[in-house]
Symmetry: D2
Subunit: 481 residues, 4 copies
C-alpha cells in the first residue's frame, strides 16, 4: 500500500482571519443564484465552507458543503434552491472545527416553523449561555455559538419573528451581523456596537432587497447601495415592505478597524469609509512616520499593495513589484522533504532578483502576527539580493487577541505582545522595522470619533471578554466530512 | 446541454420494507471495524444510508453517509473512528425523507456530555411529543422520531445514563430496539412489547459484547450468541461489566411476525426461532392448504425460495428455478422509452422458457402488497410459456398498514384490504391464488402463545395507532445530499 | 495522519473467471441505452470495467470507466452516447492490469475513419504479432491483445470494413468473439473454433439487430433470439441489411465447456444448449457416480445450486440451503486483525447450525481450483456442526490453465494438477471427495460430437498455446485510475 | 427533475492563450513531487489538464487528469509516481478538444520500450504527416499533433533515443519545446527557431537537472538557473551526465514575442530577457507614444499592471487600482437571467466609483483581440463615473492568428485585422485609443536583432502555415471525461 505524502495546509499563513461573510436576498425570482454571486464576491471572508438556504412556498431548502463557493455550488445545486428569498454564508477555515457540522447557515424547525441564520461575529457569553441551556434540556449538534442563538429563539415569546429574535438577542453579548430567513421574511441584524459590517442594497431589476457583509457583493448581485445597517438595528423585509427596528439599548459604535487594514475587499465601502482609500492613506502616513533612504517600495502582495502605493506616492520612491504572487495555489500543496524553512512562503510568493539585486528596499506588509511569515519573507527578499530591507507594517503592533469574530492566536503567540520593536526587527531579520501608530491609524480611517474597536492594538476591549475556560471542555462529537 | 435520461428507482418494488438495522460493540480494539462488519451482515435491513459512531478517550467520533455500507465506509473512514466501543445503523430508503440529515446514529451534546443512538422501530406518539417539546422550546434538525427521544433524554433527571434513558423512554409509545453510546457505556434497549428484534453476543477473541438486530451479524463479527434482549429490557455494558434492568411495566411480548416471513435473513434466529425453518414450514403448510395439480414449484427469488422448497418437499412436486435473478442490479437503472409494463421486474428477474414452456406452475412469493409486482411476475412467467400459474403467497392477505417501524403503503393501496381473493387472482392474472391462513402462520412460527404482532394481517394493533394527522404538517428544511 | 486499514479484495476468490462480455445494437433510436441493458444482464461476465461506444452521424462517441455498469453509466452518460448503433463491453477484474487504459471497447482513428471493437477471448499469438508490429513502427497504448487486432486492421487492405477485418483476423490465432462498430456498420465475428459464445437477436420494437455474449442479454434488451453466430462466421449489419460471411478456413467447433459449468448465466442458451439444464443433469450424473449415505444435499451458492438440486432429485435426499449467501458484498471489505483463516469466505457465506448440526452433508460446488476456498468452506460447514462432509465438484479436476480467454492460475497452482483426489480430499478436510468425470460432463452437455474445448480438464488444447515468455517482458506504462 | 442552470465558462475571456507548460526532472529522489511543484508554478500556462509521468526501475508510471494541478494531484497520486526522473505537463482549456484523451504527457510502448513526451507548441505539418502515417497503417487515439511525433519516432532508426528523436523531429515543421522521458533518460528539445521557451536548471540539493518552460518554475523546484535551451538544441540527461546535441540545420531564432507581453509570468527570465522589465519598458514607451491629459493611470489587472506602472512612472500621473480583481473565481460561474452585457467581466473585475468618479483615466490593458472584453471593461469603468477613458494597449494591433502553439481566433474575428484604430476606438466606446507600435515593442524587448516571432502583429510568418483544411475533417472519437 502506498504511503501518501504529507500535505501542507495553506491556512497556516500568519494573518488574522475573518470568520465569515453573509448575504441575504428578498424579492427576486433567482434569489439563490444572487446569493451565490454575493458569496462569490465575499469569498475572501471565508474559504472553508459555503451554504445557501432559500425559502419557497412556505418551505426552506438548504445546501451546504466544505470548500469554496464554486466547489460547493454547481448549476444543479442552485436549481434545487427555489424561491424568491435566500440567505448565504461563507466560513473561514479554522484549524480545529473544520467539519461539515459547523457549516452555516444553521437551520432548524421549532414551534413557530422553520428558521435559518447566517452569522458573522462571535458571542462572548456563548459558553455560559450554552451551559444554562443544556441545564434546561437543550441538545447541541455543533460547537458554533450561533446554535445558542437558535436555542434562545425557541424559548422566548413574541408576536412575530422579529420580536422573538430581539428577545433572544437581548440575552447574548458579543459581535454579530446576522442574516435570518423564515418562510416569509428576511431579517438582518447588527449587534449594538456594530463590530462587524452589514450593508443594505436594492436590486436594480426586481426592486427587491439584499443584505451583505460588504458593498463589493452588491455590485455583483446587481444591487445598488442603500445604506449601512446601523449598529443595533434590525431590518425586517417581507412582502409588506421593509421595516427598521431598534430593539437594543443604545451603545457606542465600535466597528472593527482591522476590516479596513486587511479583511475587507479594497473596493468595499463600510460605514461610509472606502477601504482602498484608507489603505493608501496609511501608506501616506507611514511615509511620514518612517521615511527611509531606499531605492524602491515593494509590497507584500496582495494585502500590502495599496499601502505600498501610498508610501511610494508620498515618498517619491519608485513602486516596484519585487515579489510576484502565484494566484493558482490551492488549499494545500505537497512538499518534498528537506525544503528550506521559507518553502511555504515560496509557493505563494516569488522574489525577483532582477529587481531586488543590490537594492535598498522598503517592504510593506499589512501586519506582523506571530512574526514567522514576516521572517520568511524577509529571508526571501534577502536571498534575491536586496542590500537593505526596511520592513513596514501598515497596522500598529498586534498585542491582543480578538474575541469578536476574528481568528487570532493567543496573546502568548503574538510577537508584539511579547517583544519590543527592536527585538522583532532582529527576529524577522530586517534592517529596520516600523509600525503604523495607533493615532495614525485613527487618522487614516477618519478620526477616533467614528468609533472603532481597536482592541487587538490597544487591549481596550469594548465588551467584557470571557474568563478563561473554567475547565469545562466542549467535546463536540466529531463527524467526518 | 444534454438532457439526462429518466432514471428508475429500484426501491419502488412492491414489498413491505424494514426500516433499519442496528449494531453495538463494546470492548474490542477494532470496535468500528466490527460494527462495519455487523452492518455488512445487516445490509438487507436498509440500503439507503449507513453510519457508525465510536467512542475513544471520552470523545465520540461519527461518520454517516448515503448509500450502502461498502460505499459509505472505506478503510480511511474506519481508521478515523477509533476506540473500543461503537454503534452502527443502516437505514431503508423511503421515498420522501431520503436525505443526509436523516441518517443515523443520531448524536448530540447535552448537559451530561455526548450521546448517540441508533433506532430500529417507530414511535406512535412522536408527533404529539414533538409538538409538546417544541412548545417548550426544543428545536429539531430532522424529521426522525428518534430525535424526540434525545430531546426527552436532555430534559429528564436520573443518576446515570441508564436511569435517564429509562425516564425518557417511559414517555414514548411504540416500537424501538435501540443501541446507545455514551463516552463510557454501550446501552441496548428493546421496547416493552419487543416489536423489533435485538440480540446480545459475546466476542470470541476479546471477551467484549455486541448487540445486533439479528444473529447473522454475530457470525460475521466473530461473536457467539448469548441471548435475545428481552422485551422491555435495558442492557448496560461498561468496563464494570454487563447489567440488565427492567425499567418498564410488563407488557405482553408482540414480536413482528413479518420478520420471519420476509425481513430477516434466513440464517438468523430471532427470539429462539430459526427464520429459514419457519419459511420451510410455511411451505409445508401451504402444500396442505393449497394442493395443486401441477408440474413444478417455482419460487420468486430470493424471498420465495425457502417456502417453495417446503411446498415441493411436502407435495412431492419438482422444485425448479424457473425465474433467474440478476444480483448485479444497482439502486437505479436507465430505461428506454416504450418498454412493456413488466420491464422493471424484468431487470431483476428473467423467466426461463426452457423450463416453463407448456408447464403447470405453482409460483411461490412471500406476499402480495399492492399487487402490481405480482401481476408483472405472472405476466413474465406466462410469456415464457407456462400453461397454468397457481400463485401462492407465503403470508396471509396484508390488510393493514404497519405503525411500528415497517414501511407499508396506506390501507387504500393494500390490494387485500380492498378486494377478495377471487378478485385479486383475476387482477394479477393467475389461474388460482392461495394465501397462507393466519392460523397456519401461527402454527409455522410455533404457536400464538409465543406472542406476535400480526396487525398487518389481522388489524389487531397491540398499541394505539396515531390519529390521522391533525392538519399540522411537518415542514422539515430540506438539505440536499 | 490516519493510517488507512488494509482492504481485502473480493476478486481473490478461487474460481476460474471469464474475461468479458460483449453486446452490439444496430437500428434502434436508443442504441446506447439498449447496450447498457445488455451489459447489465452480462454483468456476471466482468465487473472490473464497462464501456459503450455509439455511432451517430458518422462520428463515434465513447464512455468507459472502472467499476460495474451501474457505477460507470448514469443517465447523463447514456444521453451523451447518441445514435442508432452501439457496442458495449464488460471486463473481469484481473489482479494486475486493472487500469483505465485497459477498458474496452478499444477505439481508434485510422486511414479508413473510426473503428471500435469489444473483444471476448484471448489471442495465443498476440506477443509475437506485437513484436512484429512494433518492429514495423507500431506504438501501443495498452497491454491488451485486442490492440494487436486494430494495428493489423490499419495495415491490411480490402474493399470494405468486413474484408479488412477478415484480412486482419486471418493473421491472429486464438479465441475471439468480437463486436465492432464503424461509422455505419455493426460487425460481429466469432473465431473459427467458436471458443466463446456470441448470439444474434432481433429487436421486437424496431426490427433492428443485436449481438450479445449470451441470450440472457437479449431478454432484457427486448430482442428475440435469432440464432447463434457460427464459429468462423462474420455478420455485417448496415442500413442495407444483414450479411453473413465465412472468411476463414473451416475448423472444428470447440466451444468452451466451462461456460456451461460456471461462467454463463443459468437462463442462457448457448449454441442450442440450455445452461441450467446442463447443470441439473450434472447433478443427476453426480448422484450416479458418487452416491452417498447422507442426510441432505447442500449447495455452495450460487454456482452450486442447480447441480445440488439435480443431485437431490436423483438421489432422493433433501435439498437444503445450509449456506446462506450475502448478496450485498461490495468489491472490497475491511477486515479486522486476527480473524480466522476462513474469514474471507464468511463475509460472503454463512453456515446455518440449525440445519447442519449433527448432519451428514453432501456439499456441491462447481469446481476446485487452488483448493483454498474449498478448504475454508468445508471448515465453515464443519464449524456449524456437520458430522460428515462429502464434497462433490460439478466439474472434472481442473488440471490445465486456459489460454483462450479465461483467467486461470498457473498449472503449479491448480491443486488437481499436482495432487490425487485422495490428497485433495485430505487437504480440503472433507470426509470424501468426488469429481464429475470428463465423460459424464460430455454426456451432460449433450455428447462429445457437439465439439467442446475441455483443455482445462483434459490438457487437450485445440490450438497451439504460446511458448513460455521468451524473456521479453511487457512493460506497460502504468496509468493510475 | 430539476433543470440545471446554464453555466458560463470562464475560458471565454478575450485573450490569446498559451497552450502548455512543461517540466522535467532528473536525479532527485522525489522527482514527481518536484515536477508537481514545477507545474504549480507554470499553472498560468494551462488550467485544463495536468499530467506527470515518472520512471522507476525501468518502468514508467503515469497520472493525468482534467483540472488544475492541485485538483489532479494529491499526496496519494504523487506517492504512486515513484522514481528519480519525471516529466510534467499543463494544458490550456480550449473549447473543443477538452477531453481526457487529449491530456499530456503522451506515453507509448514501442519496439524500443516505453516513451513519454510533453509538448508545448504546435506543428504546422501535422495534418499531412498524419495523413501519410495513416496511409502507412498508423492508428490514432487523440487529435493532438504530439501523437504524430511518437508515430514518427516508432518508425525511424537510430543508435539511441536521442538519434531516433532527432530523426523523427527532422520530419516535422513547427513550434515545439519538448520534454521526453524514457526508462533511463530525460530529453529536452527546442525547435530550430525556438518559438517556445525552455530553460535548464540544476537542483541545489541533489545536483540533478530540471527543464521547465519558464524560470519561475526553477525557483519553486529548488533549482538554480543554468541556461536557456538553445533553439535547435537537444539536451540528453542520463546517469552518464548531460549532453548537448545540435541535430538540426541552423535557422534564425524566432522566440514568441507575446510571451513577454502576456503569457509568461512577470518574474520569469526567458532567453535572457526579464519579463516584468519588458512590461514596464512598454509602459515607458507607451507614455512617449501616447501622452494623455489625464488624472490617473489604471491597469486592467493583472496583465496590465506592470505596463500601467511604467506609464505612470514615465508620465508622472498617479497610478491607481481603479479596477479590483476577484482572485477567487473558479472555472465557471452560474449567471442569473437578464444580467447586463458586461456581467462576465464584472464577476472578475469591479470598478471603484470612489476612485474613478469624474476622473480622466488612462486605462492600460495588454491587448485587444476581438474587442468584446475591452468594450465591456470600458463600459464598466464608464459606469463607475469616469469622465474620459483613454484606452492603451501594451501590444501592437493583433492582425494575424498564430500557428505556432497559441490559441487565437480566426483572422476574421481579430478586430484589428478588420478595422482601423479609429473604428476600434468607437467600437469599444473609449475616448481615445492607442496601441504600442511594432518598432516600440522591438525596442522594449531589446532590439529586433534578438530574433522574435511577431507574426500576430506583422503577418510575417517565419514558417509556412498550413493551407486551409482540404476538406478532410478529423473525426476523433469523442470520449467523455
Amino acid at each position: 500500500m502506498e504511503k501518501p505524502y504529507p500535505t501542507q495546509n495553506w491556512t497556516d499563513d500568519d494573518h488574522f482571519h475573518d470568520e465569515c461573510g453573509v448575504v441575504g436576498v428578498f424579492g427576486h425570482p433567482e434569489a439563490s443564484n444572487l446569493a451565490y454571486l454575493g458569496l462569490y464576491a465575499l469569498q475572501h471572508r471565508g474559504q472553508e465552507s459555503a451554504g445557501i438556504v432559500s425559502a419557497d412556498e412556505g418551505r426552506l431548502h438548504a445546501h451546504r458543503g466544505m470548500g469554496r463557493v464554486a466547489e460547493v455550488f454547481g448549476s444543479r445545486e442552485i436549481a434545487r434552491l427555489p424561491g424568491t428569498q435566500a440567505i448565504g454564508h461563507v466560513r473561514y477555515s479554522t484549524a480545529g472545527g473544520s467539519v461539515l457540522q459547523n457549516t452555516q447557515p444553521v437551520f432548524i424547525n421549532y414551534r413557530h416553523g422553520s428558521f435559518s441564520v447566517g452569522h458573522n461575529g462571535n458571542l462572548v457569553n456563548a459558553q455560559e449561555l450554552r451551559y444554562r441551556l443544556e441545564q434546561e434540556g437543550a441538545i447541541f449538534h455543533t460547537d458554533m455559538d450561533t446554535e445558542v442563538i437558535v436555542h434562545l429563539l425557541a424559548r422566548v415569546s413574541g408576536n412575530d419573528a422579529g420580536e422573538r429574535l430581539s428577545a433572544a438577542l437581548k440575552q447574548v453579548s458579543g459581535a454579530y451581523s446576522l442574516v435570518c430567513l423564515t418562510e416569509t421574511r428576511l431579517i438582518g441584524v447588527r449587534d449594538p456596537m456594530g463590530f462587524r459590517p452589514l450593508v443594505l442594497g436594492r436590486l436594480i431589476d426586481s426592486g427587491g432587497f439584499v443584505l451583505a457583509s460588504e458593498t463589493c457583493a452588491l455590485d455583483l448581485m446587481g444591487a445598488e447601495f442603500v445604506r449601512d445597517v446601523a449598529p443595533g438595528e434590525m431590518i425586517i423585509i417581507s412582502v409588506d415592505g421593509i421595516e427598521s427596528r431598534q430593539p437594543f439599548a443604545p451603545a457606542g459604535r465600535r466597528m472593527c478597524v482591522f476590516e479596513y487594514i486587511y479583511f475587507a475587499r479594497p473596493d468595499s465601502v463600510l460605514d461610509g469609509i472606502h477601504v482602498y482609500s484608507v489603505r493608501k492613506r496609511i501608506g501616506h502616513v507611514l511615509a511620514q512616520l518612517h521615511p527611509r533612504e531606499a531605492d524602491m517600495v515593494v509590497p507584500v502582495p496582495d494585502s500590502g499593495v495599496a499601502a505600498a502605493m501610498g508610501y511610494a506616492e508620498a515618498s517619491g520612491l519608485p513602486f516596484e513589484l519585487g515579489l510576484i504572487r502565484n494566484h493558482y495555489v490551492g488549499r494545500t500543496f505537497i512538499q518534498p522533504a528537506q525544503r528550506g524553512r521559507d518553502f511555504g512562503v515560496r509557493v505563494k510568493l516569488n522574489a525577483q532578483p532582477d529587481i531586488l539585486r543590490g537594492k535598498r528596499v522598503v517592504l510593506v506588509d499589512d501586519s506582523i502576527v506571530r512574526g514567522t511569515t514576516s521572517a520568511k519573507i524577509v529571508h526571501l527578499v534577502r536571498s534575491a539580493g536586496a542590500r537593505e530591507i526596511h520592513f513596514l507594517s501598515s497596522s500598529p503592533p498586534t498585542v491582543g487577541p480578538c474575541y469578536y469574530g476574528i481568528d487570532t492566536p493567543d496573546r502568548a503567540q503574538l510577537i508584539a505582545a511579547q517583544h519590543s520593536t527592536e527585538e522583532i526587527c532582529k527576529m524577522i531579520g530586517a534592517d529596520s522595522l516600523g509600525y503604523l501608530s495607533l493615532n495614525a491609524l485613527h487618522e487614516a480611517v477618519g478620526g477616533q470619533e467614528q468609533g472603532f474597536c481597536d482592541a487587538c492594538f490597544s487591549n481596550d476591549y469594548p465588551l467584557p471578554v470571557p474568563v478563561t475556560d473554567t475547565g469545562r471542555q466542549l467535546h463536540l462529537i466529531k463527524e467526518l466530512r
